[in-house]
């Protein structure tokens, strides 16, 4: 039955996440300026976790797990982006391992934090242009190439990388490999300097004749599919849960921006009356309510997408819809909040300007807004990649 309310247990769980997120928010500015991840052992947080009552496990009448995952992600990022920490456990590479690795491979590496290295200096949205190569030499793959923008790249204990085993095969030649940190020839020369999400360790990877065992090919399938993109699809499957989660993360930041703006408006004496007609609302309030509507719309897209996942229903199209929508929504919302508050919004005295910079990544990583729109349009028009790109 269609329902948009949370159960008492749902609320208790989310309240806990948000209380913890607020503690981490206190450290947000400090670690952003240091461009470092906060440590796990923030003293207050430790106390909080020790003091907090254990919330009962969700039951069959509570919201489905994927829905709660998205709401928890929103709650965490509502605290601040830098709350990421190790809370989320693995990196993107772990999702790829789960999607594409064999059972043995998952058992062997599942406990590691794994980054995902796809992007290269000359290849972003179109991964079929991957230049990084993997050549079979005896029982080893020899990896050569450069990867950039690797999220959690410094602290990851291993990386899932995309490399081509046959450049002439185009997309079909691309395979995923697992490379553990410390493997000779795998260097991490520096951390990227970014507009936002500065506490995140985004790294550059260099592979110079880096040798890994033959069994490190995820899925162990060395064949190059003749037709279109068999192997490639397996890799792309990763995104059906990660896209809505990325959307939820960005929306958490947007919600923080809206909450801050609402508080400031109210403090300045503006009443936010959802019943009032256009003729009676001050422009600042009217603008705020519009931003809130965009937020609400985007959150519901995301929840619908993860709800489908919980039902075991396909959500490929929806994952692009919610990611595309959140990507543009968070830009409009955070930039709009600063517009409403004026110079105050642009001051680094407050976190609002940081949230605007942080959430700008939402429309870029995990497939840009343009890529999502291509996927949606192809679905609507029943076009192949070749027909619409």
């Amino acid at each position: 039955m269609i329902d948009f309310t949370l159960t008492e247990n749902d609320k208790a769980q989310l309240a806990r996440t948000r209380a913890e997120a607020l503690i981490c928010r206190k450290y947000a500015r400090e670690y952003e300026e240091r461009e470092e991840l906060p440590p796990d052992e923030l003293p207050e947080r430790k106390e909080f976790l020790a003091s907090v009552e254990v919330v009962p496990e969700p039951g069959p009448d509570d919201s489905p797990r994927p829905v709660m995952m998205a709401l928890h992600a929103m709650g965490m990022y509502w605290g601040d982006y830098s709350i990421r920490l190790k809370q989320t456990g693995g990196g993107l590479g772990n999702a790829a391992l789960t999607a594409a690795g064999t059972k043995e491979q998952q058992e062997k590496w599942g406990h590691l934090t794994l980054s995902m290295a796809i992007t290269e200096p000359g290849c972003g949205s179109d991964p079929s242009m991957v230049q990084c190569t993997a050549e079979l030499d005896g029982d080893e793959w020899v990896i050569n190439g450069e990867k950039i923008f690797v999220t959690t790249g410094i602290r990851a204990q291993g990386a899932v990388i995309w490399a081509t085993i046959d450049k002439s095969a185009g997309r079909a030649g691309i395979k995923s490999f697992l490379v553990e940190r410390g493997t000779p020839g795998f260097e991490v020369p520096y951390k990227e300097k970014k507009l936002g999400i500065r506490s995140d360790d985004t790294a550059v990877y260099l592979f110079k004749d880096c040798r890994i065992p033959r069994e490190n090919l995820l899925g162990l399938n060395e064949e190059i599919p003749k037709k279109s993109s068999g192997g490639f699809r397996g890799v792309m499957k990763t995104f059906n849960m990660t896209r809505p989660m990325t959307a939820a993360m960005g929306l958490g930041l947007a919600e923080a921006a809206l909450d801050f703006t609402r508080e400031q408006l109210e403090e300045a004496g503006f009443e936010i009356d959802y019943g009032a007609g256009l003729g009676t609302l001050p422009a600042a309030v009217e603008k705020f309510i519009r931003l809130e509507a965009i937020f609400e719309a985007s959150v519901l897209d995301t929840l619908q997408c993860v709800w489908l996942a919980g039902q075991g229903k396909p959500n490929n199209m929806e994952s692009s819809v919610c990611k595309a929508h959140a990507g543009s929504a968070v830009r409009v919302i955070t930039q709009g909040c600063i517009e409403i508050l004026g110079p105050m919004g642009a001051s680094r005295e407050h976190l609002l300007e940081k949230w605007m910079r942080d959430c700008r990544i939402t429309d870029i990583y995990e497939g840009t807004g343009e890529i999502q729109r291509l996927i949606i349009a192809r679905g609507m028009l029943e076009y192949t990649r070749a027909e619409l790109s």
Binding site: P64, Y274, G279
Partner: protein, 364 residues
């Protein structure tokens, strides 16, 4: 528990109404618009579906199904996909009847609900909108002054659907402290009905204006009786209903644009293969989806008896803007053909602008 799942019954309603929209609405929509009238046949056919009587209690002659604003939102989307004018005409009596079911006193229910449980289409309408600039539904200029045990209504209402044949009107007025809704029979003294109005969109639908010149209404005809009722939530339900029609309209635009864009060739390829068009279609799809969830949320708040003012306002603010944007771009995708009345997009463009500024009319 958060869920986007339709009940089995809701799925049946959706599928039935989708078929009805394709077979009974879309084929006649253009003629209704051109002729500014809706055939009685259509109203009688729609009446047979029982959309109005189903949720009226059995004791008053109805189907006795529990009131479900969410189900109504789902079916209104399908009707809106069929045609906005016909959708509003089909559901205008429901808005009146459901207001009586939800807020009416026992006496009001007993007197009025049986009217909607007969075999022939029966019209009665909400009268909310007013002709003045920057209309605010929560601050109507129509006033209800207390007089003796009753009230005296003065003011002007516009966009009253099916006002040419409605037996009763539910008139929203300011009572000095807040809002009230009054049941006003067609033959009430001091009520002048003029029309049909000539409007930008929803041309098929006959709308009228009501001039209320000191219309006397007994306490018994104040909706909810002595206690009155929560008119804000009633208006929220109307907004959710209008949103549902806008979702359907938007979906119709997208469905029309996709085959056209694939078919229309310019500079050696289908225009759908150009990102400028393809991205616009993707955007239309995204917004249509969002509008639907916002609408469901507002309807679900009404259904659960929660304060629906905020979700309904957010849904309306969003849907009105995006539906207009979608219809506007629908015209653009069709280019010159979109400007010609042979194609439906120009009609949807006019309907989108009209729906987005209306209040009242229908409910969930």
């Amino acid at each position: 528990m958060i869920s986007f799942g339709l009940s089995e019954e809701q799925e049946i309603v959706r599928d039935t109404l989708k078929e009805f929209a394709d077979e009974a609405m879309r084929p006649i929509a253009r003629d209704c618009d051109e002729e500014a009238s809706i055939p009685q046949d259509f109203l009688d056919t729609v009446w047979e579906l029982g959309l109005t009587s189903t949720q009226i209690p059995e004791e008053h002659g109805g189907g006795g199904e529990s009131r479900s604003p969410v189900t109504n939102a789902i079916l209104l989307e399908e009707l809106g996909y069929g045609d906005a004018s016909l959708a509003v005409a089909a559901m205008a009596p429901s808005a009146f009847a459901n207001a009586i079911v939800d807020h009416g006193t026992e006496d009001q229910q007993k007197r009025l609900l049986p009217l909607f449980c007969t075999e022939k289409f029966h019209a009665a309408s909400l009268a909310v909108a007013e002709p003045g600039a920057v209309f605010d539904a929560l601050k109507p200029r129509t006033l209800a002054e207390p007089k003796g045990d009753g009230f005296v209504l003065s003011g002007v209402k516009s966009f009253v659907p099916l006002g040419d044949r409605a037996s009763h009107f539910l008139v929203v007025a300011a009572n000095g402290e807040g809002l009230d809704a009054f049941i006003v029979p067609r033959e009430a003294g001091g009520l002048r009905i003029s029309g049909p109005e000539k409007n930008l969109g929803l041309r098929g639908l006959t709308t009228v204006s009501l001039e209320l010149e000191r219309v006397e209404v007994p306490q018994a005809d104040r909706l909810g009786g002595q206690a009155g009722c929560d008119v804000r939530n009633l208006l929220a339900g109307s907004r959710a209903a209008l949103c549902a029609v806008m979702v359907g309209l938007s979906r119709g635009v997208v469905a029309e644009c996709v085959p056209y864009a694939k078919d229309r060739v310019a500079f050696g390829e289908a225009i759908a293969k150009k990102q400028s068009i393809a991205f616009r279609l993707a955007e239309m799809h995204i917004e249509t989806e969002s509008m639907r969830w916002l609408t469901w949320k507002a309807a679900s708040f009404v259904e659960k008896g929660l304060d629906a003012v905020k979700p309904a306002h957010l849904a309306r603010s969003y849907a009105a803007e995006k539906c207009m944007w979608i219809a506007d771009n629908g015209v653009q995708v069709f280019g010159g053909h979109g400007y010609i009345r042979d194609n439906p997009v120009e009609m949807w463009f006019r309907n989108a602008r009209t729906l987005g500024v209306l209040e009242g009319m229908i409910g969930v």
